[in-house]
């Protein structure tokens, strides 16, 4: 029966490895990151999956571990990632980690080729026998493409220097199985940011997380709340970081975490290639990270104000090249509607008219002359399902980032489309207008809008009102 390590509990960030522009390990940035996290964590994990270990040479990994050991200077324990596909290299990495001063090793399930149970057991056994250092097993089927078999874990838990397992699968049936099989002989850590609370409630004693680079204090609070039985509080905390944790876990790992740290003013550079923004992490999701960090108070919020067009309705379409006088002279159909609760409040101003008139001209011009930050797009229920009468949505405030753009081209567009089809179906918009008319919708969405569901319903209500005013008797 292995001796349990008293320090093996709590919150451990799976450190990102900062790189310079030319992809070299950035020592000052790594030291700064460690100093930033030190007050909030119970230990560190360099060279984990989030640390891009498969993209580093053994020498680089050893150096990264040494830097962290030096910077921490004994104040907190260090669990070094020492995984490799083959046993020989794994042993080399574990020796390196011990020499560098790590307190334990985190050894991932052997990957790429897929050994069966015996080979997997032998791998961990050989490492444990070869290097006198406490070892944590590491199950992460998302990247290994195989689970660490639970029977193998049960047997490995009898080896004296195997002291724990990190389960990053997020599959709670597996986590519960492992807790059952090892019967407290070793500690079980959760490694999947999206299920921290249920895993702790189920019996995990700590966590190694990508997102603990960004909000370790939230995880400390979750940990404490679960320890003290305050489950409601833990739920609220977990919920507050659920979306961001999902983005970190599913869209690029260290790549996504690095974007967050850079936004927070803790420069860590970019991930090594082939990972890049625009690939595993889309530009859209990067923008979502920014917004979520604003919400958590980690970065200064966007200061743009909500200022929808006001004044008489006929005068609100000047940006589209339609003056108040023209609205009146040509008897154009106009309507407006407002709905929603800040920051999901919206104003919709709508103008409709025949294709061969002013509105038709404005329609063609908006698609020909996209104004940067005010790009117009046709209204669709979904791609390849454009509504008719053809309708352009034009934002009234400059879209400063992709996330704001997403609020317009996503929930706003879907809701305007739905309102138009509703009005076609109930006859408010005559069916004949599908061929003869076009419409322009000016959408004013609060720049801090966050809740897409609430926004969708606000836009739906406001557009309904605008259509009814424009097409009413």
């Amino acid at each position: 029966m292995p001796a349990k390590l008293p320090w093996l509990r709590g919150v451990f960030p799976a450190l990102v490895t900062p790189f310079t522009k030319d992809e070299e390990v950035d020592e000052p940035a790594l030291r700064a990151l460690v100093r930033h996290l030190l007050p909030h964590v119970d230990g560190f994990v360099p060279c984990g999956t989030t640390g891009e270990f498969p993209y580093m040479t053994p020498d680089e990994q050893k150096r990264v571990i040494s830097i962290v050991v030096d910077e921490v200077a004994g104040r907190k324990p260090i669990i070094a990632g020492t995984g490799a596909a083959g046993t020989k290299e794994t042993i080399l990495l574990a020796r390196n980690a011990k020499e560098a001063g790590a307190n334990a090793c985190l050894v991932v399930t052997p990957f790429f080729l897929h050994p069966s149970d015996k080979g997997i057991y032998q791998h961990f056994y050989d490492v444990a026998m070869a290097v006198d250092i406490p070892i944590l097993l590491y199950n992460i089927p998302q990247v290994v493409d195989a689970y660490l078999p639970r029977n193998v874990v049960e047997d490995l838990s009898d080896i004296p220097n195997i002291v724990g397992i990190k389960d990053s699968s997020g599959n709670l049936t597996y986590t519960m199985e492992i807790l059952e099989m090892v019967q407290g002989r070793i500690d079980v850590f959760v490694g999947h940011d999206e299920v921290v609370l249920p895993a702790l409630a189920g019996g995990c004693t700590g966590m190694i997380l990508a997102s603990a680079n960004v909000y370790p204090e939230v995880w400390q609070q979750v940990y404490a709340a679960v320890q003290e039985g305050r489950i409601e509080e833990a739920r609220a905390l977990q919920r507050s970081v659920q979306k961001l944790s999902r983005i970190f876990c599913r869209y690029g790992g260290g790549l996504a975490v690095k974007q967050a740290l850079n936004m927070m003013g803790i420069p860590v550079g970019q991930a090594r290639r082939p990972l890049k923004v625009g690939g595993s992490l889309t530009h859209e999701d990067r923008a979502e990270i920014q917004l979520e960090l604003e919400r958590l108070g980690k970065v200064a919020p966007d200061d743009s104000a909500y200022a929808p067009p006001d004044g008489p309705l006929a005068g609100r379409f000047a940006a589209l090249g339609i003056s108040a006088e023209q609205v009146k002279a040509a008897s154009l159909r106009v309507g407006t509607g407002t709905a929603g609760v800040e920051p999901e409040n919206v104003q919709i101003d709508l103008v409709a008219g025949p294709k061969d008139g002013l509105v038709g001209e404005a329609f063609a011009l908006q698609l020909t002359y996209p104004r940067h930050g005010y790009e117009a797009l046709t209204t669709i229920l979904e791609p390849n399902l454009t509504v008719r009468p053809s309708t352009l949505i034009v934002p009234t405030a400059e879209l400063r980032n992709l996330r704001q753009a997403n609020m317009i081209y996503g929930p706003t567009q879907a809701a305007v489309a739905r309102a138009i089809v509703d009005a076609l179906e109930d006859g408010t918009i005559p069916k004949s207008a599908m061929d003869t008319h076009v419409m322009l919708v000016q959408a004013s969405v609060h720049p801090k809008a966050l809740d897409r569901h609430a926004l969708y319903h606000a836009v739906l209500a406001a557009t309904n009102a605008a259509i009814r005013q424009a097409f009413g008797a």
């Binding site: 063609a364 011009l365 002359y369 399902l385 996503g410 076609l424 599908m434």
Partner: protein, 491 residues
């Protein structure tokens, strides 16, 4: 000794089951479909997967099989699907089919719950006692149960098991089946994408969804392989590979039905929850239409174009399904949308305007060219009809510029060339109309060839949709609840 019957060879369509507007089995349409395929096939399969057997009540299945038997009247074998999840129901339906006079029963692996190998074996062992010839049917994509080769081998020894249809598309599995049971029972593939490969290895035939639509092409491929003419088989397969990939993967029931609609057969839509514009996406519809045009299955039909009400008129012919409109009443301002993907970062999304040169579209082009905006270059990329390319997203990098002005534009031009050539854009009006293609190219796009191809597809679809007035009122209303806007939800 081989139990393979003489009749078990060649091309068998897995017939779709037509339903009426009020959702009953449409006997007249079913008979018409059978008459359409019959000259080209060696047998037919009612109530298979493509026939939506899982969406049909017991009486409806029986009725479909009865109609098939009656319409065929002994001219070709009728292999009826009789599967249920439970042994009890399957035995009942298979016994009924035997008494109704089917040539054989095609029995899919017991689905939904996942029986173990010995339970699967016992399922077929029970059916074996009925005395009707049985065709095993491996379709793990749907049944969730993959026969292992040793299950297949064991079942091949059951006296009434005379064949297997393997729809898995799993070639290593099929090779093991050849190894174990060739010479014992007949071997069919049921996966449209690998037919020539399976036939070349000695498969006896194929039961196919796409054989509802192109039974003649399949018959030619079958005979070519049989006679050792692999070159012909390869050439024909290359022409239909895209088509059968879509039919096999994008919800075959609705896909096959829409393809048949394109040919003018009176086939309605799939039963729910399969539906229009869902697994068989609208971009798939355009693609399927394109392949059927290339195969000459959709002949040119006339369209009359009015530049504006009371204005100049022209007539042109282009490949068009019978149900498409025959008149464009006003070309003042037509709006079309085209979307083609995946992948995400290379998707193409085009907002298209077609209009009179002297109307709102022409005016917008004149103004755009007269007042250029820095950082937002607009380009005329085609002369007849004059076409302006507008990038939706501001172009910031050299790579973006290449993707927009070279590759996306290249795709749009390819589409315009094709549409002028085939007559979709009327020759007589090419100098009177102008186009604006507002083209979305994702800033993260990498794969240049995909950008080009997706823009070709999106542009072609956008022009066709603008001229043909799609989507229709009925489509919009039918799908307003279920529409899935991809950017409406949180990541």
């Amino acid at each position: 000794m081989s139990k393979k019957p003489d009749w078990f060879k060649g091309i068998f369509p897995a017939l779709v089951t037509p339903f009426t507007k009020d959702d009953r089995v449409d006997e007249a349409a079913y008979r018409e479909l059978i008459r359409y395929v019959l000259p080209h096939v060696n047998g037919i399969v009612p109530c298979g997967t493509t026939g939506e057997f899982v969406y049909m009540l017991e009486d409806e299945r029986k009725r479909a099989i009865e109609i098939a038997l009656d319409e065929v009247n002994g001219r070709v074998p009728v292999v009826a699907g009789t599967a249920y999840p439970s042994t009890r129901e399957t035995v009942k339906m298979t016994a009924w089919a035997r008494d109704a006079g089917v040539t054989a029963a095609l029995v899919a692996a017991p689905y939904y719950l996942k029986p173990s190998f010995n339970e699967v074996y016992d399922h077929y062992d029970a059916l074996n006692k009925l005395g009707v010839p049985l065709i095993l049917y491996n379709i793990p994509q749907c049944a969730g149960t993959h026969y292992q080769w040793w299950t297949t081998e064991g079942m091949a020894y059951l006296e009434n098991v005379v064949g297997i249809k393997d729809s898995s598309g799993d070639m290593p599995y099929l090779m093991a089946v050849f190894e174990k049971v060739r010479g014992k029972i007949g071997i069919f593939t049921g996966h449209d994408e690998i037919v020539p490969a399976a036939l070349a290895m000695g498969a006896d035939g194929a039961i196919l969804a796409s054989a509802n639509v192109i039974p003649d092409v399949w018959q030619t491929i079958y005979k070519a392989v049989l006679s050792g003419d692999l070159a012909t088989a390869q050439t024909l397969m290359a022409r239909i590979q895209r088509f059968v990939r879509i039919l096999a993967r994008q919800g075959p029931t609705q896909a096959v039905k829409e393809a048949l609609q394109l040919l003018g057969l009176p086939i309605g839509d799939s039963r729910h929850p399969m539906m229009k514009g869902d697994a068989f996406r609208r971009e798939d519809y355009e693609e399927v239409r394109g392949v059927l045009e290339e195969l000459g299955k959709i002949p040119p039909r006339p369209m009359t174009y009015h530049l504006y009400p009371g204005g100049p008129t022209a007539t042109s012919q282009f490949p068009k399904p019978p149900a498409a409109p025959s008149e464009v009443r006003d070309m003042t301002l037509l709006v079309g949308e085209g979307f083609a993907g995946p992948p995400f970062s290379e998707l193409a999304h085009i907002d298209l305007l077609i209009g009179r040169k002297d109307g709102p579209v022409g005016k917008a082009i004149e103004r755009a060219l007269a007042e250029p905006r820095p950082g937002h270059e607009l380009r005329i990329i085609f002369d007849r009809p004059k076409t302006l390319l507008v990038p939706t997203v501001t172009v910031r990098t050299k790579r973006q510029a290449e993707n927009v002005y070279e590759h996306a534009a290249g795709g749009v031009v390819m589409a315009l060339e094709a549409l002028v050539k085939d007559g979709t854009l009327p020759p007589a009006l090419l100098d009177d109309i102008v186009l604006i293609a507002n083209v979305f190219v994702h800033p993260g796009a990498s794969n240049r060839w995909r950008v080009r191809i997706n823009n070709f597809k999106a542009m072609k679809a956008a022009v066709r949709k603008a001229l043909e007035g799609r989507p229709t009122f009925e489509e919009l209303v039918a799908e307003k609840h279920s529409a899935r806007h991809p950017f409406r939800y949180a990541p």
